[in-house]
């Protein structure tokens, strides 16, 4: 018997056609990095973080977090190969720990991602207002600009414009080039003095370590989206893992280098200058050598970077709500799309409604858009994502304890256990340093409101899951399956409650 008898005589048309659409490493890296929004982090989060926390060891924090996330990713991408709906943390938690905690996690994720989203509206308004005054000589309130950005995102979100993929990729490359060039230029400025503080490992165990680590985690958010493409990639065992490690490494090197260069170029006055100059610090330092054209270009890209971040988080949130709607965990209406575009309509509209309310509340209350919306919102989201990553890491351990097949010891046990331990330490530090992180007195509102909000959402989610288990067992069974839950419960197989037996 010839060996070819087990293979089809000619190449399978089906396999070829399906492989043609598959994504390679580069596309996944692009997607992940545009969600991470490098320029927003380097020019926005880092200087604001310096100003609010007064801590300078951010470069080493980026590197340390990258190592932790890379270890976490080993088990994360391995589990992604085995489950449906791999893009969402709650799917891992539902499968690895239990469906009730999965629902809790999904609600935590919605708050965390929404925090990033509204943070970027605040950041955009606060950063664009002085620029518009400089460029066009018009004084516009931050919230008017934020509302304009909000409207753009709301429209694009519902229409799900297909071209934005290529536009975002171009902007991303421009952003990375700009961050690199500006940071290299920092090395040749007059005040440059290589900063030891930025790279001091001992600060990772000292006071404020937790605050630094959360800021760093915030910078990486978006990396977890690589697994969305687990089933769409050319080689599920290689493409997504490689793309994830490459993205984490690239982000780490870029952030660590640029933040170190920025802090060094201030000649030891990083915190003072960040407090007076804010996000302008990144641009001011390099403009000393680069001139005004580079400065304007940088500012323009900074704004487009924020818009790109808004669009990508908006889409993540809308799809989170969509998959929960498909499962029936959120009202089914969230599982609807615009038929002509496939945009998750109601998820998108709900996010936009929330964004509008937050912008208006901040505008009316007169709260500071840069610190109280952009930075607090970003770090609130950062804490949420850190909590989710930590629980997900534990869920990976739990899942592989019951499903041993297909993965080796390192992917199943070694890396996930190590990652979970490290993440628990980071989470502990973060929660104990929360006052430093928000730059407020211990015991003031944000220090307890943020953890309390996450705790309440988790418990509410658990309670809702338990209610579903009693009243709608078929929905309960599909928790964590996302869109795939339709293969067990169809939209029409969900009878009105009174029709149930």
């Amino acid at each position: 018997m010839s060996t070819t008898s087990t293979k089809p005589a000619r190449p399978s048309q089906l396999s070829t056609a399906l492989a043609a659409d598959r994504l390679g490493v580069a596309s996944v890296v692009f997607f992940v990095m545009s969600a991470a929004a490098p320029l927003t982090v380097v020019a926005g989060v880092v200087p604001t973080g310096l100003a609010v926390t007064g801590l300078t060891a951010i470069s080493i924090a980026f590197l340390a977090v990258a190592v932790v996330l890379a270890i976490f990713s080993v088990g994360y991408v391995a589990m992604a190969r085995h489950i449906a709906n791999a893009g969402a943390f709650y799917a891992y938690i539902a499968r690895g720990i239990g469906r009730p905690f999965g629902v809790g996690a999904s609600w935590v994720a919605l708050l965390a991602y929404n925090s990033f989203q509204v943070a970027s509206y605040g950041g955009f308004g606060a950063i664009a207002a002085p620029l518009f005054a400089d460029w066009f000589g018009v004084e516009i309130q931050w919230w008017i600009i934020a509302l304009a950005a909000w409207a753009l995102v709301a429209v694009l979100g519902v229409r799900d414009v297909a071209v934005n993929g290529k536009v975002l990729a171009t902007l991303l490359v421009a952003e990375i080039v700009l961050v690199t060039v500006f940071s290299v230029v920092d090395l040749f400025t007059d005040n440059f003095a290589p900063s030891g503080a930025a790279m001091d490992p001992s600060s990772l165990v000292g006071a404020g370590a937790g605050a630094l680590l959360v800021m760093a985690v915030t910078g990486f958010v978006g990396f977890e989206q690589s697994v969305v493409f687990s089933e769409e990639s050319r080689d599920p065992r290689r493409t997504v893992p490689r793309a994830t490690y490459i993205a984490v490494a690239l982000i780490a090197v870029l952030y660590a280098f640029s933040s170190w260069a920025m802090i060094s170029a201030t000649g030891g006055n990083a915190v003072e200058r960040a407090r007076t100059e804010g996000p302008e610090l990144f641009f001011n330092l390099a403009s000393e050598r680069l001139g005004s054209v580079a400065l304007h270009l940088g500012h323009a890209l900074f704004l487009t970077s924020l818009i790109a971040a808004m669009i990508s988080f908006h889409n993540i949130i809308a799809r989170y709500a969509f998959s929960l709607g498909r499962e029936g965990v959120l009202p089914r209406a969230f599982g609807r799309t615009v038929p002509g575009t496939g945009a998750p309509k109601n998820g998108s509209l709900a996010q936009s409604a929330f964004g509008l309310i937050v912008i208006l509340v901040y505008a009316i209350a007169g709260w500071d858009p840069l610190v109280q919306l952009f930075f607090w919102g970003g770090t609130t989201g950062g804490i949420g994502v850190l909590l989710l990553i930590t629980v997900t890491s534990a869920a990976v351990v739990g899942y592989f304890a019951r499903h041993r097949e297909g993965e080796d010891f390192w992917h199943r046990v070694g890396a996930p256990v190590l990652g979970t331990v490290l993440l628990l330490v980071v989470t502990y530090l973060a929660l104990t340093n929360i006052d430093i992180l928000f730059g407020v007195a211990p015991g003031s509102t944000p220090t307890w409101a943020v953890p309390l909000a996450y705790a309440v959402l988790t418990l509410a989610g658990v309670a809702w899951a338990l209610i579903l288990r009693r009243s709608r067992p078929e929905i309960y069974q599909g928790i964590g399956m996302g869109a795939r839950s339709a293969s067990t419960t169809l939209s029409f197989s969900d009878p009105a409650p009174e029709a149930q037996k």
Binding site: Q13, L14, V228, P339, A343, S487, S493
Partner: protein, 215 residues
């Protein structure tokens, strides 16, 4: 009443197009998934294949009486190592199903090929020749559900696929809540499990496309 009823994938195609101008109401990816599931459902109704949970099985290798489903059956027989329903939906949704259905409709004279020269080359599209036939599938479901009448099996599948693709936002938007519930009840009670599963796979494929930003 089902006098002008076409094969169900053809009916889905017509329901998915604006009957006046021929504009498609679905994204190409979603239309492809719907038509793929439609052709597979036709093969189930021809008693050529069975759907067993996630897999399909060929139960009768004889060609059907019409070329589009026979072409799909032939391919199923040729690629006997692929049996996952989702793989076949994905494959047929790459344009294969849309192509087969458009050709079948054109042969029957229900659509007309139209070429439109633009700056970026020629765009081909198919426009319904008779707007009353084009609007009929949607109208048929609406009439039956408002009168509380039973739909036949192909129309039940058609309704299921209209729901799975999100087309109900166009086709069934005028239904009252009670009519909708009555329609759903028919689907639950009168649609064989095999076809319900197939529709479920189509709905999941549409959802996965949204999640992976392919829709």
């Amino acid at each position: 009443m089902a006098s002008s009823q076409l094969p169900l994938a053809d009916d889905l195609y017509l329901a998915a197009h604006d009957s006046a101008r021929g504009r498609c109401l679905l994204s190409p990816a979603t239309l492809g998934i719907g038509l793929a599931a439609g052709l597979l459902a036709e093969l189930v109704l021809w008693r050529r294949i069975d759907v067993l949970d996630t897999k399909l099985a060929v139960v009768d290798e004889r060609p059907t009486a019409e070329p589009a489903t026979s072409a799909v059956l032939e391919q199923l027989l040729r690629e006997s190592h692929h049996r996952l329903v989702r793989d076949w939906i994905s494959f047929l949704a790459t344009g294969v199903a849309t192509d087969l259905v458009e050709r079948r409709l054109a042969r029957a004279g229900h659509v007309r090929r139209e070429e439109k020269r633009g700056l970026l080359g020629t765009k081909v599209r198919f426009v319904p020749t008779d707007t009353s036939i084009a609007g009929w599938p949607g109208t048929r479901i609406r009439i039956a559900s408002s009168r509380g009448e039973f739909l036949d099996r192909p129309d039940l599948v058609l309704t299921g696929l209209v729901l799975a693709t999100g087309l109900d936002q166009h086709v069934l938007v005028t239904l009252e809540a009670s009519e909708r519930e009555q329609l759903f009840d028919q689907l639950r009670r009168r649609l064989p499990v095999m076809l319900q599963q197939l529709i479920g796979h189509a709905e999941a494929a549409v959802g996965d496309a949204v999640m992976a930003r392919r829709a």
